[in-house]
């Protein structure tokens, strides 16, 4: 049997984002995988260094559309720690509320995408229809369905009115009952189990060794959750269960995520029941004193680490973001060993990859004319040559109608 190398991406119906995996398969079994990331790399970290803290916050929220609140809260908590600001309790509770709503919308989204990857589109349609309930709640609370922008340095921008609380509780009731349906579907559906059990398995030692985080680690029986270990916002005062599972495979990740959906419903009810009174923000100085801080945040996909270093001016000196997908993507090649090609989309989807988070780095580009080195034709020939050398694909025959 000849070994065939299949390019998987950067444009591929299974991947929502551009990243490139070269799969070497023998018949239908995957033999080797090497990943080439960096397609989503836009240069956010250095761009933050040219912006004031507030506009850097605006940019940090656009790292990833699905977990924008995670990045924003982690960044804002870093800055508040450096500046020594005391965030009012009500603001911390509202941040937790939005965080859990975002976790629900992200997990429901993932459940649908997982269904789509194994050809079960009905699950995509059902989960995304229920997700609309959460999106409406978020739009009512923060004004935007995605990229909420509720955080500001020193607190929260918008307050939660009692009617909105009642509305959220109503929404949560419908979602809780739907989640029970999905839990029953996930545990009893034979077709789902057949496609997910023993697929993309990652044993506990490997998960710890390869640094898996979030639901992927918890599904491999690693009992780690930043909300409990290193509590931030209002998680210190809430009690919730950390869902772990011993399946160590994609099926376990489905159960963990649906379990977390139930937990989020409980947390939101707790947050709303003892929402403290008081101001929602405190005045933040424009110039943040020199200092550095590191925060860890439990994003829907795993542990999200932000490091900010201030130098006394109103611009951060260094912003470092380590997204959860960067940790999980290295475990994918381990998970894929002797799986089938048909499993590649679901295993990759199981870590709920968000490559927009993973590739972000650097710099500002001022206008300025420099002598011209590469024109369009030379760049194209360089591209063709590079492709023939590295990828063995000859695309010189693609006719370009100039």
């Amino acid at each position: 049997m000849a070994k065939v190398t299949i390019p998987f991406g950067p444009q591929h119906p299974a991947l929502k984002e551009p990243e490139r995996f070269d799969l070497t398969i023998l018949g239908e079994r995957i033999v080797r995988l090497n990943a080439r990331l960096g397609y989503n790399h836009r240069g956010i970290e250095k761009a933050c260094e040219q912006r004031s803290y507030i506009s850097a916050l605006y940019l940090i929220e656009r790292i990833c559309g699905i977990c924008s609140h995670s990045h924003a809260t982690a960044f804002v908590q870093c800055v508040e720690e450096i500046a020594g600001l005391e965030v009012p309790a009500r603001a911390r509770y509202i941040r937790t509320l939005i965080a859990e709503l975002e976790r629900m919308h992200s997990h429901l989204l993932w459940l649908g995408v997982a269904g789509h990857e194994i050809g079960f589109d009905t699950l995509l349609m059902y989960t995304w229809r229920d997700r609309e309930v959460v999106m409406d709640l978020l739009a009512a609370l923060t004004g935007n369905r995605v990229n909420y922008g509720i955080n500001t340095i020193g607190g929260v921008r918008r307050d939660v009115s009692p009617e909105q609380c009642a509305e959220i509780l109503r929404g949560i009731d419908t979602l809780e009952e739907r989640t029970k349906y999905y839990m029953q579907l996930a545990t009893e559906d034979a077709m789902l189990a057949e496609r997910l059990v023993a697929v993309g398995s990652l044993c506990t030692e490997d998960a710890a060794r390869l640094g898996a985080v979030g639901p992927v680690a918890r599904a491999s029986n690693l009992n780690q959750d930043v909300r409990r270990d290193d509590p931030y916002a209002a998680y210190g005062e809430l009690d919730f269960k950390v869902i772990t599972d011993t399946h160590c495979d994609v099926y376990g990740r489905v159960l963990v995520r649906v379990g977390e959906l139930m937990e989020s419903c409980r947390i939101i009810c707790q947050v709303l029941s003892n929402l403290p009174e008081g101001p929602i923000a405190v005045k933040a100085p424009r110039k943040i004193p020199a200092g550095e801080a590191l925060t860890r945040y439990e994003a829907p996909r795993g542990e999200d680490v932000h490091y900010v270093r201030g130098n006394g001016t109103e611009r951060p000196e260094r912003v470092k973001v380590r997204a959860p997908t960067l940790a999980n993507v290295q475990a994918v090649s381990k998970m894929l060993e002797n799986n089938y090609l048909a499993d590649m989309p679901i295993v990759l989807a199981a870590i709920d990859p968000c490559f927009s988070c993973t590739d972000r780095a650097v710099v500002v580009r001022e206008a300025g004319c420099v002598e011209q080195r590469m024109d369009w034709k030379a760049l194209r020939l360089y591209g063709i040559e590079w492709y023939r050398k590295n990828r063995g694909i000859d695309c010189s025959k693609i006719k370009l109608r100039m």
Binding site: I6, E28, I118, G119, D121, M125, R195, Y340, A342
Partner: protein, 313 residues
């Protein structure tokens, strides 16, 4: 001669089947959408897709074999349309029938799968080649159960022509109860032949991009899609003719309406299957077909032999 041409081209032939195929595709997509509580496409959607594809530019990959690449869709379409002539649509006998036309119909229905394989292989793209190989592996899995499922009623009717089978069951309809397991086996195997969801492994969109039709566009893609629609109708008509033989003696108009009803009932069944099932992996599919489907088909053949031996004695 003229009448035969009319039959081939217009009535039970190309025009009628393509329009009925599009109606079946619309019914399938609409039921699929409604079950997912979506609104679903308008009734003219398949027609609009077909005309749009006809007017699109046709790209033939540079290193694909030009002639074969363009010829395959026509082969597939003709094979499927010809097989409809031997199937008794609403009266007791088909247009043309001779001893042994069951075998001819079954093999004519296998031709499109072979052309899909060739299409995938000749379009010289990685994903298409993978889809082609999967199409063939799948062919070996569902072919035997489908044949046994269709031949079992023929054994009871002790005649190798579809019209003969229809006449036998028309004469004494009580026996069709024994063919029920065969109907279930054929319904499942038909999904493999039509590459529908639980077994749509050859063109699994999320795994191998476009499957066998990755490189096809424009007119060629339009003919391939029409082949799949017509195959859906002809397959359902074959199942209806063999397993639902009641009401064959009716006058032409009522018989025709009943025939439409039977086919649309089978299409609805297929649409419901498509909604509730996830896609199987190719190894699971082959294992399922050989382990469960073939044994069920064998069981059906035993029943037929028993019925033939004991009752007809």
């Amino acid at each position: 001669m003229g009448y035969a041409l009319f039959n081939i081209l217009v009535f039970p032939g190309l025009l009628f089947l393509s329009l009925f195929g599009m109606l079946a595709e619309f019914a399938d997509r609409k039921i699929y959408a409604r079950l997912q509580n979506r609104v679903g496409p308008p009734w003219y959607q398949p027609e609009a897709d077909f005309i749009k594809l006809l007017a699109k530019e046709e790209i033939v990959p540079a290193d694909a074999d030009r002639a074969v690449f363009r010829f395959l869709p026509v082969v597939a379409l003709t094979a499927v349309v010809c097989s409809s002539i031997y199937i008794p649509l609403w009266s007791r006998s088909a247009l043309y029938s001779f001893e042994g036309d069951v075998i001819v119909v079954l093999y004519l229905l296998t031709l499109p799968t072979l052309t899909f394989f060739l299409a995938g292989w000749y379009s010289n793209s990685l994903f298409a080649a993978l889809g082609a190989v999967r199409a063939l592996t799948q062919l070996f899995a569902y072919e035997v159960p489908l044949f046994m499922g269709i031949l079992a009623p023929a054994i009871v009717a002790s005649s190798w022509s579809l019209s003969g089978v229809a006449q036998f069951y028309g004469a004494h309809p009580a026996y069709w109860i024994f063919n029920l397991p065969g109907f279930v086996v054929c319904l499942v195997a038909l999904q493999g032949k039509l590459e529908r969801l639980p077994f749509d492994i050859p063109d699994a969109e999320t795994e191998i991009v476009g499957g066998t039709f990755t490189e096809y566009s424009g007119r060629l893609l339009a003919f391939f899609r029409m082949t799949i629609d017509v195959e859906l109708v002809v397959g359902s008509a074959l199942l209806a003719a063999v397993f639902f033989p009641f009401g064959l003696g009716l006058p032409p108009v009522a018989g025709f309406i009943l025939f439409l009803g039977k086919v649309l009932f089978i299409v609805t069944l297929l649409a419901v299957f498509r909604t509730v099932m996830a896609r199987m992996r190719i190894d699971q599919m082959v294992e399922f077909c050989w382990k469960y489907l073939s044994t069920a088909a064998l069981f059906q053949v035993l029943i037929s032999l028993a019925v033939k031996g004991v009752i007809l004695g």
